[in-house]
């Protein structure tokens, strides 16, 4: 007959080696049903406590018990994971670049710069990521939304402010674009009506 500690050692090994959650019934089979379900439950609780504060935790799921990594450690683990991290499409990256460097901008502005239509999914992807949001609406026909980057965007890119984005004026120079056309207009004026419309009624703001 195994001692409680030995039972616990076997339980731990079985759970660590199992790819799937194990039920109490599964775990009882480890001992040919010679250890009671209550004892196993109690030892599982002890095990769970023993693992507190480690990178891996013992959890009780609907389908049984299993060891799993704590979410906080995911950022370390994914660095060794050979799996390639997903990448944003060029459309998403360019849209993000335009919003970051030229904010606040409307979708129309982005389309003007990119020369192609911007799919709603592109904007949605960036909004879902919490990197951009609507900061206002431009007073123009259709009152298009004006997008800007968020605090989370700066945090995720490790920037303290937009100033820390790589400067791109030197790039312009290197591309021999330094000399602006005489009638150079601000980049976004195309969509921005010259005559500002009168302010709208003050209204209760949505929280």
């Amino acid at each position: 007959m195994l001692s409680p500690n030995e039972v616990k050692t076997v339980l731990e090994a079985a759970l660590l080696a199992s790819g799937v959650p194990l039920t109490i019934a599964d775990l009882r089979r480890l001992f040919d049903d010679e250890v009671g379900g209550d004892t196993i439950r109690r030892l599982l609780d002890e095990l769970r406590e023993a693992w507190a504060g480690r990178g891996v935790e013992l959890v009780n799921l609907a389908s049984g018990w299993r060891f799993q990594t704590r979410p906080e450690f995911q950022r370390y683990l994914e660095r060794v994971n050979p799996e390639k991290p997903p990448k944003y499409s060029r459309a998403v990256l360019e849209t993000l670049a335009i919003i970051a460097y030229k904010q606040p901008v409307t979708r129309g502005d982005i389309e003007d710069i990119r020369g192609v239509t911007v799919a709603p999914t592109v904007i949605k992807a960036l909004e879902a990521r919490g990197w951009i949001d609507v900061v206002a609406h431009r007073e123009a026909p259709g009152r298009p939304a004006l997008y800007g980057t968020t605090r989370a965007f700066l945090d995720d890119l490790g920037l303290r402010s937009l100033d820390e984005l790589p400067p791109i004026d030197d790039l312009v120079a290197s591309l021999d674009l330094a000399a602006p056309p005489a009638d150079a207009a601000p980049a976004l004026d195309g969509t921005s009506p010259a005559d500002a419309s009168p302010p709208a009624e003050p209204q209760a703001a949505a929280a």
Binding site: L16, A17, G19, R66, F67, Q68, T69, R70, P71, Q74, R75, L77, E78, P86, Y88, L93, L96, A97, I98, A100, Y101, K102, Q103, P104, D133, V134, V135, A136, H137, R138, E139, G148, T149, L157, S161, L162, D163, E164, L165, P166, D169, L171, V172, L175, L177, P180, P181, A184, A185, A187, S192, P193, D195, A196, P199, P202, Q203, A205, A206, A207
Partner: protein
């Protein structure tokens, strides 16, 4: 021909087992009589003529280094004969080995010529002995390998579930990626306009976004509350430029009831109803 008793029980080959009439048969009967039912099993139990030869040698405690060829050949041929009588399909290797054994046996009967200055001519059994010993070595190695703890059979790899539900894998973007994307845009467009974006302008634009957020509720804000003197003159200037730019783009409305009265700023347009 010498017949030495060289090997102890530990050298006895792993006897093939078979079931005859439901009873386990641990080893071949000494007289080579093989119960018909078991024959097929025994044939399969041997991995080939070398395996069979080793079995015969070890079973009879023959000295593998000084094999009595006549005896071994006789036993081997008996065995092959039994198999042939049973009409079992005999692998060609068994017959080739039979021919080889007979050839060695006949060479053993001939006097070995000794040439001046040379060592004794090679023993006709040398090659067979070498092969038998090498095969025996591999047999032992195979057994040892099989006895080693093996992943999946004797131990399991630990692969704890990686919990990803809370920390979903998201694309990583670096600031340089954005600069690269911008560069790409410039290259494509060959720029219809002058897209000069300077650090200063960026700051202005950042403050434009910030100010629009601060004014999101659409209410009037007192002009001075939009400035944070604690952040220094540069920021004050940039904030002011942002306000001017917003005004120019008609995104904010600046009002003053009379000279020197407080200046109020508020967002133009509908408040962010949709934002919720």
């Amino acid at each position: 021909m010498t017949l030495e008793l060289v090997h102890d029980a530990d050298a006895a080959p792993a006897a093939p087992t078979a079931k005859v009439h439901g009873e386990a048969l641990a080893e071949l009967p000494a007289d080579l009589y093989i119960p018909p039912d078991a024959l097929e099993v025994f044939l399969e139990a041997f991995e080939g003529p070398l395996d069979l030869l080793l079995y015969l040698i070890r079973k009879a405690n023959l000295d593998v280094l000084d094999i009595p060829m006549a005896e071994l050949t006789r036993q081997y041929l008996d065995y092959v004969e039994v198999m042939r009588h049973r009409n079992l399909e005999l692998a060609a290797e068994y017959l080739v080995m039979a021919a080889m054994l007979m050839e060695i046996k006949s060479r053993m009967l001939l006097p070995r010529p000794r040439l001046a200055g040379e060592e004794e001519a090679e023993d006709p059994r040398a090659e067979l002995v070498r092969r038998l010993l090498e095969y025996e070595r591999i047999k032992a190695a195979a057994q040892k390998l099989d006895e080693m703890p093996q992943a999946g059979r004797d131990f399991l790899r630990v692969e704890v579930w990686v919990e990803e539900t809370l920390a979903k894998r998201l694309p990583r973007v670096r600031a340089e990626d954005l600069a690269a994307a911008w560069r790409g845009l410039l290259r494509q467009a060959r720029v219809r306009q002058h897209h000069r974006v300077t650090r200063e302008e960026l700051s202005v634009r950042e403050h434009m976004s910030r100010m629009l957020r601060a004014l999101a509720d659409g209410a009037f804000r007192e002009f001075t509350t939009l400035f944070d003197p604690a952040r220094g003159v540069a920021v004050l200037v940039v904030t002011f430029l942002a306000l001017l730019e917003l005004t120019r783009e008609a995104l904010v409305e600046v009002t003053q009831a009379e000279p020197f009265a407080p200046i109020y700023v508020r967002r133009t347009g509908e408040p962010e109803v949709a934002a919720a």
